[in-house]
Structure formats: C-alpha cells, structure tokens
C-alpha cells in the first residue's frame, strides 16, 4: 500500500512565475525607460524651477520649494502608501497570492519612507522662515509623522528573518492593520488640531499666488517625482527579486542535501 517512489519534485509554489528570463528582460527595459524619463523630467523641473520661474512677492526664492514639496508629499502619502496597501491586499487575497505583491509592497514602503522623510524635511525647511519654527503641531504635519512611524514599524517587522511566505504574510497583515488606521488617525489629528485652537500656521497671506510658468513647473515637478518614484520602486523590486531567486536556489540545494542525509535518492 505504501509507496516509496521518488516524490514529485517539490518546487516552491511561487518561486517560478516571476523569475523567468523574459521577466527580468522586461524589468530591465522598464528600468531604462523610467530612468531616462525621470532624469529628463527632473532636470527640466530643476531648470524651470530655479532659472525660469520668478521669485514670489512675499516669500522670495523660498517659494521655489512649491515645486518640490507638494510632489514629494503626493508620492509619499498617496502613491507609496496606497500602492503598499493595495499590494498587501492582493497578497492576502488567496487567488492573487504571489510574492510579486509582497516585493512590490516592500519596495513601495521602503521608497515611501524616503519620500515621507523628504516631505517632513522639506516642509520643515519651508516652515522655519515662514512660520518661525522647525516644527508645528499642524494636523497635516502630525499625521504625516504618524504615517512615517507606521511605515518604519512595517520595515522593522520585515527585518526579522523568516521564511519568505511567512514574512510576506506577516508584513501584509501589518500593512493592513496600519492602513485601516490611517483614516482614523487623519480625522483624529484633524479634529485634535482644529478643536484645540484655530489654524494659525497656514496663514493664507503667506500662500503663494500660482499662475503661468509656476503652475506648469509645479505640474511637471509632480510628474517628475512620480516617475522618479516609479524608477526607485522598480530598482528596489528587482533587488528583492534577485534576493528571492538566490534564496530559492539555496533552498533547492538544501532539499538535495537533506535528502542525501537519508542516503536514498
């Protein structure tokens, strides 16, 4: 009744799909396209932002931060975080479960942390001369800071070594738990702020008037930063892919070695 036939080759369920040679070729092509687009659009934004657009009446050259700050914030708070949440959900959904989504979520968060930090730093640099302080307990600032801590927690969890699918599942759950919290944090911080005292930091007279070349530069800046984000995302994704492939090869060797312990093969 019992068979001692050689067992079916135990391939890991999802080692194979994304590791095909065509996959990496496509990745490389994407990487080149995004890299060139990113370099051109970023260069154009820098040129327009520094040499072409005029300084602001009130803020002077400081206003040029408007070409950087909103774009960085858009990428960090919406694009990176949204992508990480979506990819985590797709991993948890049994029918779409694949380490592809795990790698994508990890890449999005890792790059997102950099962009979130840049958001806070550029906001801080802008805030010091305009508001007179490096940090203000403004609703948007505060919820961005909480988001950064949530992101960092996710990365700390990922650093704990584990089997790829165990880590992927754990991280995806952590992302999910944090994601459902984000709107609640947002509203609580908003009310906390507005109910405490009237908004004083976002003085409307300091807001720059945006028109003409400035608007176009602002828009281009957002596009450039989005492309830069995509490029970094793909680079990070590719590193994750190569790491996983290396791990899978090690696993194949480990299984062979394990079988050799038994003497039969």
């Amino acid at each position: 009744m019992t068979t001692i036939a050689p067992p079916a080759d135990p391939r890991l369920a999802e080692g194979a799909p994304a590791t095909g040679p065509d996959g990496s070729a496509r990745l490389r092509a994407t990487l080149w396209t995004l890299g060139v687009l990113g370099a051109v659009s970023t260069g154009a934004t820098v040129w327009l932002g520094i040499w072409v657009t005029p300084p602001d009446k009130v803020q002077g050259n400081l206003v040029r931060l408007v070409y950087l700050h909103p774009g960085v914030a858009w990428v960090a708070l919406y694009l990176a975080f949204g992508l990480a949440a979506l990819a985590s959900l797709l991993y948890l959904w049994p029918r779409t479960r694949s380490l592809v989504w795990d790698r994508l979520a990890a890449a999005a968060v890792e790059v997102g942390v950099v962009f979130t930090a840049c958001t806070l730093i550029s906001g801080s640099i802008w805030g010091r001369p305009t508001w007179g302080v490096w940090w203000a307990w403004d609703a948007r600032l505060t919820s961005t800071a909480v988001l950064l801590v949530l992101f960092l927690g996710y990365l700390a969890l990922r650093r704990v070594p584990a089997e790829p699918h165990v880590r992927a599942r754990r991280s995806a759950f952590a992302a999910l738990f944090a994601a459902v919290d984000v709107p609640i944090v947002h509203f609580s911080v908003l009310w906390w702020r507005t109910l405490h005292q009237g908004a004083t930091v976002l003085n409307p007279t300091l807001s720059p008037e945006i028109h003409g070349s400035m608007a176009w530069t602002l828009l281009l800046g957002i596009v450039a930063l989005t492309v830069d984000f995509a490029w970094m995302l793909v680079v990070r994704y590719r590193i994750g892919l190569l790491e996983d492939r290396l791990g899978a090869e090690e696993l194949d060797r480990a299984i062979d070695a394990r079988r050799a312990e038994g003497g039969a093969a």
């Binding site: 909480v146 927690g153 700390a156 969890l157 704990v160 584990a162 754990r170 609640i184 009310w191 109910l195």
Partner: protein, 223 residues
C-alpha cells in the same frame, strides 16, 4: 465562536486571578507613570489638573502594551499556543476570548489609574457616565488592536521591543479621543464635540474587532 471565546477568555482571566500579574505589576507600573508625570510637571495643582486626562490615557496606553505582552506570554510557555491550535478552537473565538480578557484587565487598570488621577491630581468629575463610557470604549479598542498586534508579533523574535513600536502609533487615535472626552467629563474642560470623538472611538473599536474576527485565523495559522 462564542463558546470558544468564553472558554479562552475565562481561562486567561483565571490565569490572571492566580498569577495577579496585571494587578500586582501592571497597575503599580501605571501608577508610577502617573507619579513620575507629577514629578516632571511640578507640585502645582493647576497644570496637573489640566494635564490629567492626557496623563491618564498615556499611562493606560503604556499599561496596554504590558497587558498585551502578558497575554502573548501566557501562550508562549510550554507551547500552549500550539495547544490551542491542536484543540481545533475557532480562531475568531480565540481572538474574542483573549481580547475580552485583556479588555477586562484594562478596565480594572483604568479604575485604579482613574482613582489615582482623581486623588493625586485633584481632578473633579462632572459627567461620570461620559467618563465611564469613554473608559469602556477605549478598553475595547485597545484590547482588540493590542490582541491583533500581539498575535502578529507572537512568533517574531525581538517581539518585546517590536510590539510597542508597532502598537503605540496605531492606538494614537484612542489617546486623542480618550483625552478629549475626559477633558469634557472633568471639571474645567470645555464640553465640545463629545459626540464626534465618541463616534471616532466607536469606529476604531468596530474596525479592529471586525478585523480581528476576520483575520485572526489566517494570521495565527500557518505561522
């Protein structure tokens, strides 16, 4: 699910009744936090009264981390977490039971800390029911999210340091809502927008209880 929840919750509370960790260690820790705050803010009564709601909720949050870690540790000795899985208990039931046990302990902790705040800081209660309701809603949310994060960190090395890092930013809304509602229920606070803060707290509760019931199985199985 309810049967398993009762069984697991009763078991955890019985363990607490025998070991007295929450009462003999976590509650005194919370009190020490309150006293240290008083030292930091100086002996004048007025800043203490003003800060009382916030200090209370910060102390509750720190105590929650300890209570959750204790709840996780109960299942870590002698592989009892495996025991729960081997028995074929409904994961949603395990979640509700463990969360209910943590919640019950948090209510006791809150009672101790509230007494401390009222006595040491000289705060006066104007709306006792609002105060109670806030404590209850806060305990549910903290217990549910804490149990969820406790399970997430259970199999992870270095969970002692990881858990507060993951949990505390997530429960920040409970701190904000709890503090505002307490300010409304204590003398001298403006009774503003209490309803919307309570709604926020209840939404937080509902989200994390529902999340726990749905995902506790996939989270703890196949670890």
């Amino acid at each position: 699910m309810w049967r398993d929840a009762l069984l697991v919750g009763g078991k955890d509370l019985r363990i607490e009744a025998r070991s007295r960790v929450a009462l003999a260690q976590i509650a005194p820790f919370g009190m020490i936090v309150l006293v240290l705050f008083a030292f930091a803010l100086g002996p004048d009564q007025s800043p203490l009264v003003h800060a009382a709601p916030g200090l209370f909720w910060v102390a509750v949050l720190f105590s929650t981390v300890l209570a959750v870690q204790r709840s996780v540790a109960v299942e870590a000795g002698d592989a009892t977490r495996d025991g729960l899985r081997l028995a074929g208990l409904d994961p949603a039931g395990i979640f509700l039971g463990k969360a209910a046990a943590v919640g019950a302990q948090l209510l006791v902790l809150q009672a101790v800390l509230a007494a401390g705040v009222l006595l040491l800081f000289g705060a006066r209660v104007v709306h006792p029911w609002l105060l109670l309701g806030t404590c209850l809603a806060g305990a549910v949310g903290l217990a549910a999210s804490g149990t969820l994060y406790g399970a997430l960190s259970a199999g992870v090395r270095l969970r002692e340091t990881l858990l507060p890092f993951l949990l505390l930013p997530v429960v920040a809304p409970v701190l904000l809502a709890g503090t505002r509602l307490w300010q409304s229920s204590l003398a001298g606070g403006a009774p503003d927008a209490g309803a919307s803060w309570m709604r926020l707290l209840l939404v937080f509760d509902a989200v994390y209880v529902a999340l726990g019931v749905v995902v506790f199985g996939p989270l703890t199985e196949a670890a």
